[in-house]
């Protein structure tokens, strides 16, 4: 990709310059580990804060959605009486979590009980290594980045099982089983929705995928994957699967408060519970980050003349918008039953993803069509997607009576 004119704007290169400056202090041999440590520290800091404020944002958003203000009581020790709009609420929560008593059931398998939250957070954090936050801002640029991302994601199920098994509690075990079933069911559509992107970009490395979505000089529509027919469907399936992977809203059955107390988290309390909570958010961040990278063009600006805004800002905006979108869904959609959930995955998303693969293949073959053929291309691609969508959709809901809405009178 030819570097656009303003890649060397100060803001753009600031983080890299800082890092080089710090590394400069260390001897050659230590340079690599120090660089890695620095990246880790930066990520922890940034995402730690982002996690904190995300919890607040979520509670404020839910509140507003349910026509109530949300947390606005917490204040600073010394600024009594000032309206902080609940900004310090996360810090208050953090203190609460740390100080609450950590109860471990006697019959529990202590080792596994302790190991479960640690592994969950560890694997969640490991996924951040490959996400490209900016033009050169990627912790580890390995060739099979996307695969690494999903491998790490897959490991989290292990930890959930440990949690469910170790707490020696029927509810937690059943909750773990349900969580596992959901996670495994949705891992497939998640991966399958990513495959077209990899096919079109021709590589598994996230940085190259983002570069593949660089702006064509003079093109008005951003050259992102989402703006192609298969890209859109892929992105939609990816987002639904991501929701399920992160145990978010419509798919948050495992710790459905109303039925299963907290699923595999029932026996956890205090800091371990907080860790699980943090891991969930990190998972969400990771998934939305990878979603943005794959479909929304990562740190690419929508169009050439907006290049002057630094790449990592674009990435941030996109990621946060996705997260807020997830929260928004949490506020609106109802929770799905376990059989609806798995049927949606196996009978709807997987076939659609496979067909999407077909459309992407058609799309890549017909790249050379130009002029009026573009519309034909678009029409065929859309048809290839919409028709199965409608057919499978109707077949799935064949047996159900039409939805009746009873508004509160």
């Amino acid at each position: 990709m030819n570097a656009p004119a303003n890649t060397n704007s100060l803001l753009e290169r600031a983080p890299v310059m800082i890092r080089d400056w710090i590394i400069g202090f260390f001897p050659e041999s230590l340079r690599w580990p120090v660089g890695a440590l620095l990246a880790i520290a930066a990520m922890l800091a940034v995402f730690g804060l982002v996690f904190a404020f995300l919890t607040l944002a979520e509670r404020k958003l839910l509140g507003r959605a349910q026509n109530r203000p949300g947390p606005n009581r917490s204040g600073l020790p010394f600024f009594r009486g000032t309206k902080l709009f609940g900004l310090t609420q996360p810090f208050a929560d953090a203190v609460k979590m740390l100080t609450k008593e950590d109860i471990v059931p006697r019959a529990a398998d202590h080792l596994l009980h302790f190991l479960a939250p640690v592994l969950v957070v560890a694997f969640a954090l490991m996924t951040f290594a490959v996400i490209p936050y900016g033009r050169q801002l990627v912790a580890v640029d390995i060739d099979a980045g996307v695969l690494y991302f999903f491998a790490a994601g897959a490991a989290t199920e292990l930890a959930i099982f440990m949690a469910g098994w170790a707490s020696h509690n029927k509810y937690s075990l059943i909750g773990a089983m349900r969580a596992l079933a959901q996670l495994i069911s949705y891992e497939l559509p998640l991966l399958l929705s990513v495959v077209p992107v990899v096919m079109l970009a021709g590589t598994l490395s996230p940085t190259k995928i983002v570069e593949a979505q660089a702006n064509v000089p003079g093109g008005l529509i951003p050259h992102w994957h989402v703006f192609t027919p298969w890209g859109a469907v892929g992105f939609a399936i990816f987002m639904v699967a991501a929701l399920a992977e992160a145990n978010r809203s419509p798919f948050d059955l495992p710790e459905g408060e109303s039925e299963l107390v907290a699923g595999h988290l029932t026996e956890y309390s205090g800091f371990k519970y907080a860790l699980f909570f943090m891991a969930e958010y990190f998972g969400m961040i990771g998934l939305t980050g990878m979603g943005a990278t794959l479909f929304l063009g990562g740190w690419q600006a929508p169009c050439a003349f907006l290049e002057f805004i630094p790449s990592y800002l674009w990435f941030g905006v996109k990621m946060l918008s996705l997260i807020l979108f997830m929260m928004w869904i949490r506020a609106t959609l109802l929770r799905l039953r376990i059989d609806q959930l798995t049927r949606l995955a196996w009978k709807f998303l997987v076939p659609l993803a496979l067909i999407n693969l077909g459309t992407a293949a058609f799309w890549s073959r017909t790249d050379s069509w130009s002029g009026p053929l573009q519309f034909v291309r678009w029409a065929i691609a859309l048809a290839l997607i919409v028709v199965p969508f409608v057919v499978i959709g109707r077949r799935l809901t064949a047996g159900l009576a039409p939805r009746t809405y009873r508004y509160a009178t």
């Binding site: 398998d109 596994l112 390995i142 060739d143 099979a144 695969l147 690494y148 999903f150 491998a151 790490a152 897959a154 490991a155 199920e157 292990l158 099982f161 440990m162 098994w165 075990l173 596992l180 495994i184 891992e187 021709g202 590589t203 598994l204 490395s205």
Partner: protein, 171 residues
């Protein structure tokens, strides 16, 4: 370079040895997962990233899940937890056989003089692998695809426990 290798080797061998000797199935299963992670690390050490992540994804992600599910589904009887006397004899026989094979293998490895080129770890990009797979190996890819589907369906059929099936098998 070899330090890392030795470390990884210790991790793998240690976890497998302990896993094989533990009585608690879940623990031995999880330890095995650890050993698979060790093997993935070895692949990383050898430079085959793709294989490593595939190993992690397949084993840690999927196989471990099946193993754990299998363990859970077959836990009712307490009998298997206690080591029956007969199995002690079997254990000794097993270890002896294992030892014999180990001795022979090490003898074989040490006796053969394998020259190695002192080159750096060769890196193979995913694209090269992809081209290789789609190129000459396309047949085997398809075959593996078929095997996996068949295994999937077979497993479902075998494991599915519908009511009347039970009666048929009653001796």
């Amino acid at each position: 370079m070899t330090a890392a290798l030795i470390l990884i080797a210790l991790l793998i061998l240690g976890s497998t040895a302990v896993a094989m000797s533990l009585r608690n199935l879940i623990h031995s299963a999880l330890l095995l997962v650890l050993s698979w992670m060790g093997i993935a690390a070895f692949y990383l050490w050898a430079g085959a990233e793709f294989v490593a992540f595939a190993q992690v994804l397949v084993y840690a992600g999927a196989v471990s899940m099946i193993v754990l599910f299998a363990v859970l589904l077959t836990r009712r009887s307490r009998a298997d937890l206690s080591i029956a006397p007969a199995s002690l004899r079997r254990a000794v026989a097993g270890v002896l056989a294992g030892g014999a094979t180990a001795g022979v293998l090490t003898l074989a490895v040490l006796r053969t003089n394998l020259q190695i080129a002192p080159s750096a770890a060769p890196t193979v990009t995913v694209q090269q692998l992809g081209l290789e797979l789609i190129g000459p190996q396309v047949a085997s890819v398809l075959v593996v695809g078929v095997i996996l589907t068949v295994a999937l369906l077979g497993a479902v059929v075998l494991a599915a426990s519908d009511r009347n099936d039970g009666k048929e098998d009653a001796p």
